[in-house]
C-alpha cells in the first residue's frame, strides 16, 4: 500500500456529482499525475485530500491514517504540502516571509515566548530563516527575498508557491497545474526541478497538469479522470494508448 490511498471517494455538490467512486493508490516517492478535461474533478480531488472538502462518501488514507474530516491545517501538519491552480501567495508579505509562514506547521513558538523573546523562540526563528533562505536559493529567488510577493513574475510566483509548500517538510507534495502559463523553456526547467526535489527530499509528488508533454515526461504513473470518474490508471505508455483516454481527452488524430 502506498503513501496515499483513496477508496471509493465521491463528492456531491448539491446534486452534482463532482467525483464518483474514485480509488487511487499513490506509491511512495513516485511522481503521480492526474489528468483529465476541464471540470473532471481534478482540483476537487486535491481539495478533498488537503481537507478543504470532506468527501460525501469514501475514505482517504495517508500513511495509514484516515484523513477525511481532518481540518486542512492538521492535514498540512501531517506532511501534505500543496500549491494552488490560481496562485495564492501572501501578496503583501516579502518573498522570504511567505516561505517563513510556510514553516508555521512545523514550528511551535507561542505568543508569550515571542513577546518575551525566550531563547527557544529565537533559536527557532534563526532556524526557519536559514531554512527559508536555502529553499529560496533552491528556486532561484534568494536575490528577491525582500520583494513583495506580488511583484514577482508569474513563473517566479509559481516557484515561490512550491518553496512555501516545501517549507512544511512535506512527505507528499500536491502540485495543481505547476506549468500553467509557463513558456517552453520554463517548462523544461520546471520538469528538472520537480524531479530534483523528488530525489533530494524523498518526496512523493501528486500533480494535476494539462500539458501532456510535461505529464508524459515526468510522471511515473498517471490516473485519468473524466466527469468525476476514473477511466484509466497506469504508467504513461499504457495510458497514452488507452482507447477511452484517447476518446475523452487526448483526442483522435485526424
Amino acid at each position: 500500500m502506498g503513501i496515499l490511498t483513496l477508496e471509493g471517494v465521491s463528492q456531491e455538490f448539491g446534486g452534482l456529482l463532482a467525483l464518483d467512486d474514485v480509488s487511487l493508490d499513490v506509491e511512495n516517492e513516485k511522481i503521480f499525475g492526474i489528468i483529465g478535461p476541464n471540470g473532471a474533478g481534478k482540483t476537487t480531488l486535491f481539495n478533498i485530500i488537503t481537507g478543504i472538502y470532506t468527501p460525501t462518501s469514501g475514505k482517504v488514507k495517508y500513511q495509514g491514517h484516515q484523513i477525511n474530516g481532518v481540518p486542512p491545517y492538521d492535514v498540512a501538519r501531517m506532511g501534505i504540502g500543496r500549491t494552488f491552480q490560481n496562485i495564492r501567495l501572501f501578496n503583501k508579505l516579502s518573498v522570504l516571509d511567505n516561505v517563513k509562514v510556510g514553516c508555521h506547521g512545523v514550528t511551535k513558538a507561542g505568543i508569550l515566548s515571542a513577546l518575551f523573546g525566550l531563547p527557544g523562540e529565537r533559536l527557532e526563528e534563526k532556524e526557519i530563516t536559514l531554512r527559508s533562505c536555502k529553499l529560496l536559493e533552491m528556486v532561484d529567488l534568494y536575490e528577491k527575498r525582500m520583494e513583495y510577493a506580488d511583484n514577482l513574475s508569474y513563473g517566479e510566483q509559481r516557484k515561490l508557491e512550491i518553496a512555501r509548500a516545501l517549507a512544511l517538510k512535506p512527505a507528499l507534495l500536491l502540485l495543481d497545474e505547476p506549468a500553467a502559463g509557463m513558456n517552453a523553456s520554463e517548462k523544461v526547467s520546471l520538469m528538472t526541478f520537480i524531479k530534483e526535489i523528488r530525489n533530494n527530499e524523498n518526496l512523493t509528488i501528486l500533480l494535476v497538469e494539462h500539458d501532456m508533454n510535461v505529464v508524459m515526461n515526468i510522471c511515473e504513473q498517471i490516473a485519468v479522470l473524466d466527469y468525476g470518474r476514473k477511466i484509466a490508471d497506469g504508467p504513461p505508455e499504457q495510458v497514452k494508448n488507452d482507447e477511452k483516454v484517447i476518446q475523452s481527452y487526448l483526442g483522435v488524430e485526424a
Binding site: I52, P72, H104, A165
Partner: protein
Amino acid sequence: MNIMDALLSQYIDAYYLHIMVLIGINIILALGLNITTGVTGQLSMGHAGFMSIGAYTAAILSIHMGLPFWGSLLGGATAAAGFGFLLGLPTLRLEGDYLAMITIGFAEIIRVFFLNFEPGGKALGLSGIPEHTTFSVVWMIAIVVIVLNVKLLHSRIGRSFYAIRENEIAAEAAGINTTRLKVLSFMVGAFLAGLGGGLYAHYMTYIAPQDFGFMKSIEFLNMVVLGGMGSIPGTILGTVVLTLAPEMLRIVAEYRLLFYGAMLVILMIFRPNGLLGDVRWYDIKKRWFSKEVKTWES
C-alpha cells in the same frame, strides 16, 4: 515617576500635557485595533465596546475593591480580553461585513448594558475614580506596548496573522489553525483596548456610557486605516494626526468637523494605503543605499 510628572508640569503647559496623555492612550488602543483589523484583517467596529469594559472594570476594581492601580488596570484589560474570546469564538467564522455588523452590535449591547448597570452609575456615569494616570505612566506603558507589538508582529504568530489577512486558504494549507489565531488576535486587540480603557478611566476620573459610543469605535478605525493597515509606525502616526487634528482645527471653530472630514477624504485620495501603509524600512534603506552608489559612480 512622580518626580518626573512634577517636573513636566512645571515646564509644559497643562493643555499640551493633556493632549500628550490622550495621544498615548489612543496609541495603545489603536495598536490593539491594528492587530485585529490591520494585521489579521478582521474588521472590528466595536473597539470602544472593549474599551468600555476595560474602563468600567478597572474603575470598579479601584473604587469598590480598593485594588492598586496596576491591579485594576490588569483586571480591566483581562476582562476585555475575556470578552474578546467569548465574542470571537462564535463569530470569527464570519467574514468582512458580517463580522463588522456583529462587532457593532456587541459594542451597542455593552453600551446599553452600562446605561442600566447599577454599580456603574447608570446613565450618570461613574465618578470619583482615583486619578492615577499621568504622562509618564501612559508613555511608559505605551512604549512597552509598542515594543511588544513589534516583537509580536515579527514572530511566528505575527506572520501568521498577516498570512490570514492575505489569504486564508493558503494560510490553512501552511498549517495555520486560522480560527484559533483569529480568536487570539481578537483577544490581543481587546486586551489592549481594555488597557487603554483603564488608563482613560483613571485619567478622566469620570466615565459614562456615552464616552464609548459607535463614533469612538470609528475614530480608532480611522486611526488604523489612515496610518496604514498593519503598520505599527503608520498606526502611531495616524493616531497622532487624528488626535491632534480636532485640537488644531479649533481655529476654524464651528467648521471644525467639516475640516476634519475633508482632511480624511483628501488623505485617503492621496494615500489610499494609509500614510505609511506601503512604506517599509527595507525600501527606505535600499533607496538611500542606491543613491550612494550613484554618487560614487558619477
